[in-house]
Subunit: 305 residues, 2 copies
Amino acid sequence: MLTFNEYLASVRPTIEQALRSAVSATTETAPQRLVEAMRYAVLAPGKRVRAALVLLACEACRGDEKAALPAACAVELIHTYSLVHDDLPAMDNDTLRRGQPTCHIKFDEATAILVGDALIPAAFELLLANIQPSDVALRCCSDLAKTAGATQLVGGQADDIYYEKNLTRLPTSGAEEFLTSIHLRKTAALLAHSLRLGAYVAGASKEQVEVLAHFGINLGLAFQITDDLLDVTSSAETLGKSVGKDAKADKLTYPALHGVVASQQKALALIEDAKEMLIAAPELFAEGPREVLGSLADFILLRKK
Amino acid sequence: MLTFNEYLASVRPTIEQALRSAVSATTETAPQRLVEAMRYAVLAPGKRVRAALVLLACEACRGDEKAALPAACAVELIHTYSLVHDDLPAMDNDTLRRGQPTCHIKFDEATAILVGDALIPAAFELLLANIQPSDVALRCCSDLAKTAGATQLVGGQADDIYYEKNLTRLPTSGAEEFLTSIHLRKTAALLAHSLRLGAYVAGASKEQVEVLAHFGINLGLAFQITDDLLDVTSSAETLGKSVGKDAKADKLTYPALHGVVASQQKALALIEDAKEMLIAAPELFAEGPREVLGSLADFILLRKK
């Protein structure tokens, strides 16, 4: 059986190549500097977890992995846009991302805003031009529109930023619910979306889609908790981005609310639940990719960056 | 025959109502402050020229105007996003828009970035949820993805901003071509797109789509020239936004290159050409809406704001 890391290593070259093609295909005749900045942001050394989730979900539902590649790229473009905009001075004001200067530091703020603005329609363009048949393309686009919109991705970031800028002390009640709702929208929604896209391309059943999406939600919540933990326990060198920022900013995080140990336990419980879901209905998914998904769950728990 | 202003007055209440519904439909459970800012930006007193173009093109191609209303809203959402982001401090740094404080002044910069980010997927969501049959929805979305992307809308803004920030004097050669290419992408592309969407909804022929798109391009170039003229000749009170900014910023505009009179002549020539196109093949379009489109062309030339 492949571990998730082995799986990632095996598909990453294909994903990177597809991402290069995706940027080229959606930027023909676009201004050189804008394209350069889009390439810089998209092709920075990312883990490509979301793209891999799209491919794995497709395979798990016994679909053709290759057919899901444009959807895998679309999700990475959306993820990249959200990172580029989140890093802006008016948002998280971050200078380091994926081990290199953030887009607005390397280029400038206007360019970074425009990179994000261009990546959103590019994601739709990829799906519309490459996903077949057309009803699957429509399904993917509708899901993307909702996931990237005000109720999910953008709404989560809006609440996160608003809290960060306007509340300087941790709230005494409702904090965990609020935090979970931010994680659900900022992180879990896009992971669940990635799994749904892969399932759609495979022509999956409603049950398959629901189990994978639920798995993605748990993964996302655990992912965000470990992300917050890494900000406490890792170094900028290992992580490729600034650390210790959350505590300095009095940011609402699981470690801030419950401490490091309880946060680790919470992440573990979410991952155990996620793995249970996949095993509970073994006939739903192909065995190989299902096992890789289980290994991904462990990978999230143990990741160092 | 209706003039364009009479036509606008007759459809504006329907458009405004549809826009209110569109924001509601795409922001259910979204953070209150984000929704408030989206409403503020979208429902500011705009002329709704682009929405009206969608409806008019649909009618001109003998389609059902009502069926094009979601597309009309989608185009207004994209237009609004581009205004909100263009006004940001890192871009044009504008404080007044449609007679009221710009979104980042009324709310804050982070919120204004997020408003734009949410409006892009919202436009796709509207098309996907409401345009029938699904192949027309796909066609509309593909067109929107290209129009709002790096090669058109975002690319035009990128070149515009880059020029503005890095060249302090007007270039001596190639200036008009460069300026036209910015106008084509920043303004004309979205007007032509509006007309194509209306035509798609009506199930128009390739020829109808092409004539309308060409008409839109001319309209857009003329629109941008008159926009630049108004910055020279109008007042902030009449215009509802700051004036005299272009000259102060040494901005590349038609009036800066060729003076006011030659710019007015250029706009007139573009409008005359545009009107010719509609009349050249009278059987292509229904007479009433065709005449309103002709009146719109005149309206652009004579507009005071």
